[in-house]
Point group: C2
DNA sequence: CAATCCTTTGGCAGCGCTGTCAATAATAGT
DNA sequence: ACTATTATTGACAGCGCTGCCAAAGGATTG
């Protein structure tokens, strides 16, 4: 009898086939197109595979079929807890599917992104998920040549490479600032850090809302390229106050900055919302628990990751979505920090 | 001339070889053992590969060599922001190496862990990183049969499967509670959620410290199986207060719970630290920024992920560490929330 | 100068699986 | 009953690369 077992003791498909009394081809077919097998053989291959504890060799499969079951995921940062929610959705959606997530970190660098895309292309992924819509022409070209479904997440915009699931950061910021204006706030600060493309668009939304109310003043806007954190939020707020002591509200580009601002207010005995109103962005869990509770713009991060991967998996199976661009929207969560002032 | 280019237009190694004027074997050797090539050929293969933009086919390589350059990483949760720091270290350490991280989520389930380990084994990873030390006998058996370096992280303990990098959660908790006792606190609550093995050991450390001071009382201990969050922290603290209104300090199993406790104190006008001292665990960034700043036990999560992967990569290269178990320790960060009371 | 050893190179047989095509069996149509 | 289809199955040739072994030089040694 010919060699059945591989050197390493691993069970090969040939062994399953011979135990089931079928050809290698039929055994292989059991895993690819089980419906093409007669019920009898299907059953026999299944039980043989089960009895032997067969696990397919993915490398051999990938080589022979020229396809993989890998979904490449490009994320700009692992630090940012926004992405940890997205990733939860990503992994949850991939769970139970045959697909494997291959996560890589671009560190907010478009060159790194280009390099990683080339690397992915060489491995023929089944699908690809990329963050944002600001890919370089080179990156777009690489993706276009990849012949696998691709989904862009976090934002929506014109000219999707393939599919998109996100929301309008500009509109979300606009609505937050419009809310503050509606509450009677006039001198609304903007606190931004690590000014990535999405944050830039939030700034754009802020500008649009302020300009519409004829309240826009450059001195209200304070940004820094350094990464965000709660401490940075406190420092930024302090700096803003030094520059524009008359502000009566701040829109923070994320919740860490907002929490840092709240702490700084507590430290300086500034009453929130009576002296200063605060609105954050993302609506992390702690915003509702803070004292006072902090207003924020809820974004659907988990759903974004989950739906993006689900769309990808469907597209890999040939089911193109009806609409390739999905806008998950946002919701303004108004809490104590941006409520009307107590009457004096 | 024989087929050079693969159907998909991908450049194969044979093409590089012929452009460089060497045999396929030599070209292959350039990527495996470049030092075995004569400088001249090495140079020619390098420039040919570069000119053609050659990217190796990893599936073919894996199949032929019976090895992969994949490091499997098993993490129990993607929600827990403790792990996002670990993962940052993991990905940073893998960056620049030929190794690829394959991340999977066990959802705190040992059965899931077992299943995932079997799946990994079938793909012959180059190395493996698993969380914690509470693997089932089955899981240990699978790992032992895997013939690749394995590192356990988050904790230290006896009988490493192979290597370990972590710290003693029990000692860390002990030192936090001992600190509170040293500050004159007598009725110290314990707030725990999602009681995973590491949290259990923190409880053990708390018990040890309290018992040593003859202060241990069951009513001080409040735990819940539900996942942690800031809100849950607030609720737990409220419940603890209802049960033991006389407590003068709380040790929280993580910083989210601690922050929730602080907020709940603010809500109830309980003075921190005068009425209640608070100590958290992990020392997330916001702890220092809170008002009052919150004491915590600093754990080296980033370093844990980074060092674990570095050890793995070294071990794959044949460089076994001098000591297979690395204790990264912890540091008690004493801040305002556990300072002495103001004199009355 | 021959014998020996080391360095460098190439030929070749797979790695475990899938895609293609042909063969056969079963079913339907006339 | 006989042919046309369709449903099942199997044989076989690779997928692109590496590991092994042998060959060819070159250097070294006695």
């Amino acid at each position: 009898m010919a060699r059945q077992r591989t050197k390493s003791g691993k069970i090969r498909l040939a062994e399953v086939a011979s135990l089931a009394g079928v050809s290698l081809t039929t055994a292989s077919r059991f895993f690819r197109t089980p419906e093409a097998l007669s019920p009898g053989k299907r059953e026999r291959v299944a039980s043989a595979a089960d009895k032997l504890g067969y696990e397919p060799d993915l490398a051999a499969r990938a080589l022979a079929s020229q396809r993989t079951e890998v979904i490449g995921v490009l994320i700009p940062s692992l630090t940012n807890n926004v992405f940890s929610d997205v990733l939860r959705g990503v992994y949850d959606a991939a769970d139970g599917s045959p697909f494997t997530i291959q996560l890589v970190n671009t560190h907010y660098s478009v060159l790194q992104e280009e390099k990683l895309l080339r690397l992915f292309r060489a491995q023929r992924p089944a699908g690809l998920m990329v963050t944002g819509i600001n890919q370089t022409p080179n990156s777009r070209a690489v993706m276009q040549s990849m012949d696998c479904p691709i989904v862009q997440i976090m934002e929506t915009g014109p000219e999707p490479i393939d599919m998109m699931v996100g929301f309008s950061h500009s509109d979300a910021a606009f609505s937050a600032v419009a809310h503050l204006i509606a509450q009677g706030r006039k001198r609304i600060g903007f606190l931004g850090a690590r000014m990535d493309p999405r944050v830039q668009r939030r700034l754009e939304g802020y500008r649009r809302a302020m300009k519409a109310a004829a309240l826009l003043e450059p001195r209200f806007i304070l940004t820094t390229p350094i990464p965000t954190s709660v401490s940075v939020g406190g420092v930024l707020f302090g700096d803003l106050l030094a520059r524009a002591p008359d502000i009566d509200a701040v829109f923070c580009i994320n919740d860490d900055i907002a929490l840092g601002t709240l702490f700084e207010c507590q430290r300086r005995q500034i009453a929130v919302p009576d002296d200063i109103a605060i609105v954050g962005f993302n609506d992390l869990e702690f915003m509702a628990a803070a004292v006072p509770s902090l207003s924020s713009v809820r974004t659907n991060r988990y759903e974004m990751g989950r739906d993006a991967i689900a769309m990808l998996i469907a597209a890999i199976a040939g089911e193109r979505p009806a609409r390739p661009v999905v806008d998950l929207g946002f919701e303004l969560m108004v809490r104590q920090s941006s409520m009307p002032r107590h009457s004096p």
